[in-house]
């Protein structure tokens, strides 16, 4: 009996494709690429690879507007994280990513796995993470119980993961507004240090080289919900429903140390973390970037749960896993290093040169897909956009303050959670571990020293969602400029940004307009400041009950301070100092 009968996979039809999230055009395109109808497993792979999250199909045309070059840029967008030069061959590798939807479903785990994911993005490139930041948006916690619950859960999730992993969370941003009540935002940044000649990429080269799976075992975590039509899996479907992803920061710490130890050797060809769409996106990305192919023997994948099917294994989003390609003949050495760190490592495939990803199950070929076309020919949409009505109305609004009672206003401001101290948050984060944090959270920007260098790294995360709603173009500009200003005020020279673009449903012209304008505003500011975009992430569909969030393009500016002893904090330092007011 073949796999398809054994697991009772349904026949592929347009209906099944739609359930998985593909539309008719996309389904036809898949057929065109293959020259035949995909089977069930293949269809699942198309759906995952062509999801908004993996393919950036609605944002790609606009993201091209970002400036991405400068002499200090070592790696721009396109890899797991961006890299810039800081001091000679010492480089900073960083990226922001969102974990909004999972954090609404399960605040603690959603936020925790968000931190875990972004850390893996950074250390797969060979960088040791030295700092995290978090940008958070919640509903009104003074009135709304649920928002308060989410807020507390998210903060302890970030703390739980980052503290245990051993990376300091050195700053961030928090904003409360009812627009985020049902769509909280959790944006996490990780930044690591890497030597320029020690950067690793997601490559699968060298015919016959082993493909090795490392890290945690695979479970049914986070398999795309829409694809799980219950009947197909028989009577115990209840237990097979997708699970919330659970983070294990301790395992991730082991994975970090093992990977960094491994990368000191020259028998690693390429490495890629298994993030969204797990084994699917990692294997296809590695093969397509190298113009090679891979064969995977899915029954070899270490599984946590019994009876997992090839489909589930390909689409699981279990955490703390990596895929790597090693040089042939060094398999034992790789396995030895992972054994030292008590981690699973298994040879699950090999590199080929035919441009195909071929999946086997107990010797049977169960899927065969061309690697490159799945990525390169992914659908791209130039979605219609249009200036929303609210924008015109607001333009004519007069925002003048009337009848202002200064005492009351002052009191109101001080008790507003948006203005009050964020100590409650950042004291739950270990912001000092690794003893590099030399301007602690509480200041406008955080500063990290680099042991063995005179220079410092300056970080600031900013975005004003309200401004972005009122005028996304200016709001986008302001986010970049505010972050740059904060970096400058700590004594740093702004160098580059990573961004996380959080918006509503891109199929709505109003939302798309906000997106386009914000990207244009940010691009303009980045060009003027000569701070290119080196990495980032887009999160669409932050909508509930048809209501989208205020547009929130979070910006993290990274800068360098030539002499870390000259860092500045943003508070009065001494009695008797003279206070100046600069600007208009």
């Amino acid at each position: 009996m073949g796999v398809y009968e054994k697991f009772n996979y349904p026949n592929v039809t347009l209906e099944v494709a739609k359930e998985m999230g593909l539309n008719e055009d996309e389904f036809n395109k898949a057929i065109e690429i293959l020259g035949r109808k995909p089977n069930y497993i293949e269809l699942g792979i198309f759906a995952a690879m062509w999801s908004e999250h993996c393919s950036y199909k609605s944002s790609r045309v606009h993201l091209k507007k970002f400036p991405t070059d400068a002499p200090w840029v070592v790696q721009g967008p396109g890899e797991n994280a961006g890299i810039i030069e800081i001091d000679g061959d010492i480089c900073a590798c960083f990226k922001v990513e969102s974990h909004n939807h999972p954090s609404y479903i399960e605040p603690y785990q959603g936020a925790a796995t968000g931190v875990g994911g972004i850390l893996r993005d950074v250390f797969t490139m060979g960088a040791r993470p030295i700092a995290c930041m978090d940008g958070l948006r919640f509903g009104d916690i003074t009135k709304d119980e649920k928002s308060r619950y989410i807020f507390e859960g998210v903060v302890s999730g970030i703390a739980g993961y980052g503290n245990c992993f051993g990376v300091p969370t050195v700053g961030g941003e928090t904003f409360f507004h009812p627009t985020f009540a049902k769509n909280p935002l959790v944006n996490a940044l990780a930044l690591g240090l890497v030597k320029k000649d020690k950067i690793f990429k997601a490559k699968a080269e060298g015919v016959g080289n082993p493909v090795i799976y490392v890290g945690a075992k695979t479970g049914r975590d986070g398999i795309h919900g829409a694809t799980m039509a219950s009947e197909e899996f028989g009577s115990d479907s209840e237990s097979k429903r997708p699970n919330v992803q659970i983070g294990d920061p301790f395992k991730e710490k082991l994975l970090l140390e093992a990977c960094l130890e491994l990368m000191k050797n020259d028998f690693v060809v390429g490495i890629q973390d298994m993030g969204a769409a797990g084994l699917t996106s990692s294997s296809f990305e590695m093969a397509s970037k190298s113009g090679s192919g891979v064969e995977l023997y899915l029954d070899k994948v270490p599984c946590r749960e019994k009876g997992m099917t090839p489909y589930e294994i390909m689409l699981s989003e279990s955490q703390e896993r990596m895929l790597l390609v090693a040089k042939k003949g060094y398999e034992d050495k790789v396995l030895e290093i992972f054994a030292k760190w008590d981690l699973d490592a298994e040879i699950i495939g090999r590199v080929t040169d035919d441009g195909f990803v071929k999946l086997y199950w107990e010797g049977e070929l169960v899927a065969e897909l061309p690697a490159k076309p799945l990525g390169d020919e992914a659908p791209v949409y130039d979605r219609p956009y249009k200036e929303p009505a609210y924008y015109k109305e607001l333009k004519h609004n007069d925002f003048a303050f009337v009848n202002l009672n200064l005492d009351k206003t002052f009191e109101m401001m001080l008790t507003n959670p948006n203005i009050s101290s964020k100590k409650w948050i950042y004291e739950q984060y270990d912001h000092m571990v690794r003893t590099n944090t030399v301007v602690l959270p509480g200041s406008d920007a955080s500063v990290l020293r680099i042991k063995g260098s005179k220079k410092g790294i300056v970080l600031s995360m900013d975005c004003n969602s309200r401004y972005c709603y009122l005028d996304p173009y200016k709001g986008g500009q302001i986010a970049v400029i505010e972050a740059a200003r904060n970096v400058a005020m700590a004594g740093g020279r702004p160098l580059a940004i990573s961004d996380c673009l959080n918006f509503g449903n891109p199929e709505k012209p109003d939302v798309m307009w906000q997106f386009v304008k914000a990207v244009e505003g940010m691009s303009f500011a980045c060009e003027k400041l000569n701070t290119p975009v080196v990495s980032g992430n887009v999160s669409f569909y932050n909508e509930t009950d048809g209501k989208g969030i205020y547009p929130t393009p979070t910006v993290v500016m990274v800068g360098v301070l030539d002499d870390v002893e000259k860092r500045l904090e943003s508070f009065f330092q001494q009695e008797g100092s003279i206070i100046y007011l600069l600007g208009e």
Partner: protein, 232 residues
Amino acid sequence: MMKAGVVVFPGSNCDHDCYHVLKHVCGFDTSFIWHKETDVSNYDLIVLPGGFSFGDYLRCGAIASKSPVMDAVYNYAEKGGLLLGICNGFQVLTEAGLLPGALLKNRSLKFICKFVYLRVENNFTPFTNLYSIGEIIKIPIAHMEGNYYIDEEGLNELKENSQIVFKYCDEYGEISKESNPNGSIENIAGIINKRGNVLGMMPHPERAAESILGSKDGLYLFKSAIDYIKEG
């Protein structure tokens, strides 16, 4: 040259920080000691660093206290070797029975990372001889389980033998409920064993050993140990 060792459990994450201070700030010949090693006889000072040794699953420090290296560390301490447990290292020491008492969850149930003030209660130890008694020092804490507990009998014994080394206080040295960050019994932040060679403390002296980090108060703890070792 004086030799220092930093024990590395898989989830230790202050190991590099301790290494940095011991080696680059204090000039020890310093090495890491992997938790599977079984010989630690060759050191003048051993540090059990902070972190989450085995994810802090089950109880902080519990699994680490059963790892192979701890038998060797136990013998080392029995022979009078200087042993310092910081944060998770303190938890490991209590779990291993090298120090009395236990560390429970913070009263707030939350992780707390911030600078606190400590009052030196006993400067007659190898780790505190450069402080004066009653001195107020500023050192950060970063923990979820730092709430020191011991039963009454044990507490009396600690007092009788002057085993309480540090207490949480405010900047004026006041020891009160307000200056107690985690609910620790009698504001205890660090204790030493009866023999006087094993110190456990929740605050992180290695995070306060260079002026760039905002305090150098922790440095004198390591310097005290150096003086003590030199004097033999």
